[in-house]
């Protein structure tokens, strides 16, 4: 599992188009909407109801419980059986990044300088058991997902930003008082008010998370809720068997009048879990399957097939929300020295890394900034320009720069350290090997250490103490924003406050007062344009510290079978197809 999958990524349509171009040119031969057509607009637009939408997953949900999940695909898909206060506009490219009201009638009303947010619920929204949705259910949903010890899998932003009770709130399962979390008020069944510790201008993005999908207290069964979920969306979950499948059918009590954004086209939706990845691709190409729900693109083995002229028109190659990069721990010698870090910035052959990860199409574009081009606030710059020698590898000039930095660092002959990667991510390990090779050229000797992805952040790379003790100077990983803004992307990675004893996400342990301050100010700023500008500047400041080596902006080859209607890449869920209005043509 990737530590974090994006809830949203911002990208300019123009950009997407240009990416499409560098992604292998336009459709050649074959009919169909065309290569990369789904990146900018929704393909096969249709209102035809009926049929069965078949999806498959090579793995399984962390949990389909809206209050206990983190995956992007899960957030994307949960909207079929649940309605959060807000959501992202169904569509492709730029428009897909717009936050719009869903369960709420309108976006949040900020007051008190952005510390208080008020939402009004739509009337007449019913669960699949016929009961009516009230604001208490939303409150309860947030409480159970953020404050209980049982539901651990989802993000904990509400806990982080909302004012806590005094004494600390123990969550609805332990705290039997009827007040619950006092910082969420529900003056009436249609109104809900959130009180934040600090001004926070991007709260509308936060409540777009599946964690605000209403859960009636009476129906909550904690960890077992995933097997008996109550639906507030157009579909109800008929059954979910972990490791096997989930089937959805229409929610008889869903009323289109209360829901302007959903089309609810298929009669039934099936998801098979734990399927063989290659087989998923085969079935996609054969037309017996409609979607790979995980949205990570086709397997390397299928790549040649989908790039063949007859298939290419059905392929999109969108930028995904990830930055794949290498953090340099400022607390591991000699990387505590700026110049040693800068040396690494130069000496790391990013093209080699890119190829190792799958090349420009399946791997991604070479990265030079922390913010991926698809994230709002991205400004293009390259502080450590590299050049390739004609027969592969970095050219002498670049290597000389690196050597010179090593000189200044006092390590003219290079140094020794460790590179960490996730053992069950062959491509990441391949990347590590590529980097190991290129660093060797300037005398930086590295040893590759591998850890299981499951424990990467909670036990190893994400545990500063471990990193220091074992001298793991370089850590390869990937990161995507939890909500589609520069803040959502940067805060967890570069803000001093993000450093945690375990499950750390600021792997470089960068704690620069300037950077921290810049971020803190940005988020309190109601002016969006100003915020975006600030994110770009923070990005530059971070790159100045050379603590993180951007490797690639992730991209994937996504297959869009002919019979699938309303297929568009939504950047808000990290560049996968938007499932909200997907249908099938018979």
């Amino acid at each position: 599992m990737n530590k974090m999958r994006p809830l949203a990524v911002l990208a300019a349509g123009v950009l997407a188009a240009s990416l499409a171009a560098c992604g292998g040119g336009d459709s050649t031969g074959g009919d169909g909407p065309g290569w990369n057509a789904g990146v900018n607009e929704v393909v096969n637009q249709s209102d035809k109801k009926g049929g069965t939408l078949k999806l498959a997953h090579s793995d399984d949900w962390d949990s389909p419980d809206p209050g206990n999940t983190y995956y992007a695909f899960s957030q994307n898909f949960a909207r079929l059986y649940g309605r959060a206060l807000t959501t992202f506009k169904p569509g492709a490219g730029k428009e897909s990044l717009e936050v719009i009201p869903d369960l709420a009638t309108d976006l949040g009303q900020a007051s008190d300088g952005g510390k208080t947010w008020t939402y009004k619920l739509r009337t007449g929204v019913k669960y699949d058991d016929g009961t009516t949705v009230t604001s208490k259910d939303v409150k309860y949903a947030v409480e159970r997902s953020n404050y209980t010890e049982e539901l651990q899998l989802g993000p904990k932003y509400f806990k982080q930003y909302l004012v806590d009770n005094d004494p600390a709130y123990k969550g609805p399962y332990k705290d039997k008082g009827d007040k619950g979390l006092e910082s969420i008020e529900t003056p009436d069944d249609q109104t809900i008010v959130f009180h934040l510790k600090e001004p926070f201008q991007e709260f509308d993005y936060l409540v777009a998370m599946s964690q605000t999908m209403p859960v009636p207290k009476a129906k909550d069964t904690g960890l077992k809720y995933e097997n008996a979920m109550v639906s507030s969306g157009p579909y109800k979950v008929d059954n979910y068997t972990r490791g096997k499948s989930m089937t959805l059918s229409r929610n008889p009590h869903w009323d289109a009048n209360t829901d302007p954004i959903r089309k609810a086209l298929p009669d039934t939706i099936e998801v098979q879990a734990k399927q063989n990845a290659d087989d998923i691709d085969q079935r996609l190409l054969a037309g017996s399957l409609d979607m790979d729900i995980s949205g990570v693109g086709v397997q390397a083995g299928t790549q040649p097939k989908v790039l063949a002229d007859d298939q290419k028109p059905y392929v999109d190659n969108p930028i995904q929300g990830f930055l794949r990069f290498m953090s340099l721990s400022v607390n591991v010698k000699p990387l505590d020295n700026l110049h040693c870090r800068r040396a690494v910035q130069y000496a790391t052959d990013k093209v080699a890394a890119q190829t190792a990860y799958g090349g420009p199409l399946a791997g991604g574009d070479v990265g030079t900034t922390i913010l991926p081009p698809a994230v709002d606030g991205y400004t293009k710059f390259d502080l450590y320009p590299q050049k390739q020698a004609e027969n592969g590898g970095l050219d002498q000039a670049t290597l000389d720069k690196a050597k010179q930095e090593l000189q200044e660092c006092g390590q003219p002959d290079g140094f020794k350290t460790k590179i960490s990667a996730r053992s069950d991510r062959p491509k990441e390990v391949a990347m590590a090997q590529a980097i190991q090779q290129s660093l060797k050229k300037v005398g930086i000797e590295t040893e590759i250490v591998q850890f299981p992805a499951g424990d990467y952040f909670n036990k190893y790379a994400g545990v500063p103490e471990y990193v220091h003790d074992h001298g793991v100077g370089m850590m390869i990983w990937a990161w995507a924003a939890d909500w589609p803004t520069g803040y959502g992307f940067l805060q967890q990675v570069v803000h001093g406050d993000a450093i945690k004893p375990s499950g750390n996400t600021n792997l470089a342990e960068l704690d620069d007062p300037e950077i921290n301050k810049a971020l803190d100010q940005a988020i309190t700023n109601p002016d969006k344009a100003a915020r975006l500008k600030a994110y770009g500047e923070v990005d530059k400041m971070v790159m100045e510290t050379a603590t993180n080596v951007p490797l690639v902006y992730a991209k994937a080859l996504m297959y869009r079978p002919e019979r699938v209607t309303n297929a568009g890449i939504t950047l808000s869920y990290g560049g996968m197809y938007d499932y909200l209005n997907m249908g099938v043509s018979e």
Partner: protein
Amino acid sequence: MAAPIEVSGSDTEAHPEAVLSGVDRKKIQGRSLGQIAWMRLKRDKIALTGAVVVILLILIAIFGPYFVQNPLTYHQNLIDPTYNRPKYGFWHSGISMDHPLGVEPGTGRDMLARIVHGARISLLVSFLATLMSVVIGTVAGVIAGYFGGWVDYIISRAMDAFLAFPLLLFAIALVGVVADGAFGMTGNGLRVSVLVIVIGFFNWPYIGRIIRGQTLSLREREFVDAARSMGASNSYVLFKEILPNLVAPILVYATLLIPVNILFEAALSFLGVGVIPPTPSWGGMLTLAVPIYSSDPMFMIIPGMAIFITVLAFNLFGDGLRDALDPRAK
């Protein structure tokens, strides 16, 4: 899977006397077990082929690495960025004059070099592991078989228990739990030793069982009684009478255990708990080949065949050796 004890049924079906009075006489005229074995082995063309290949492999494992290019050197220029696989060579294998077995997708590292270095790891691990199994197995087997009674009972039950474990799972788990830096070792040094210990430790019952059986029967033999009756000490009987007679079976089953262990090591690497990259290993190469095997099968075939040929060679040789040395075939 304990190898079946095969009798190469000698052609004496209907005329025991004839051959006894015939062949035996000659044997009595000073033909040692070794000579007989060698004589038989020489006649067994298949086993000989196996033996030759085995020797070749060992030579390759020892000296090969000095003759091939660096298995870690990248040849990005050989890789087609769009498909992320070699630009030329049939099946996009990248086979060429400089790269007889082609190059690896993504990195363009020389396959031949990786196979050769892989052979080194594979053989190193399986040999050491086998050695370990043989030592534990022999000691346990002899003790159980020779002293019998409750000692035998305990050891036998232990062997049963071991055979009842899902070894692969345990191996994976064990390699997993041993964190880097444990026992003051790091990187591949640690990993290889862990692999050796895990594989070796889990395979000893196979040897143990056989040795126990052999010892049991030996213990009843006249010459042992004779020695005992002359008041020989246990240790004397064990080392002077029993062990020498166990050499043949030990040799045979060690040879037959090596291929089993090679497969075991490959399987572990395949499941991602083998030696640590960039050190090449055959199983590891197969893992990388899995996602692309349907489009570019060469990267699966080459390491696959490497494993196959090696294991087959050892099996053929070990088989012939057994037929040649099998006491019952004498």
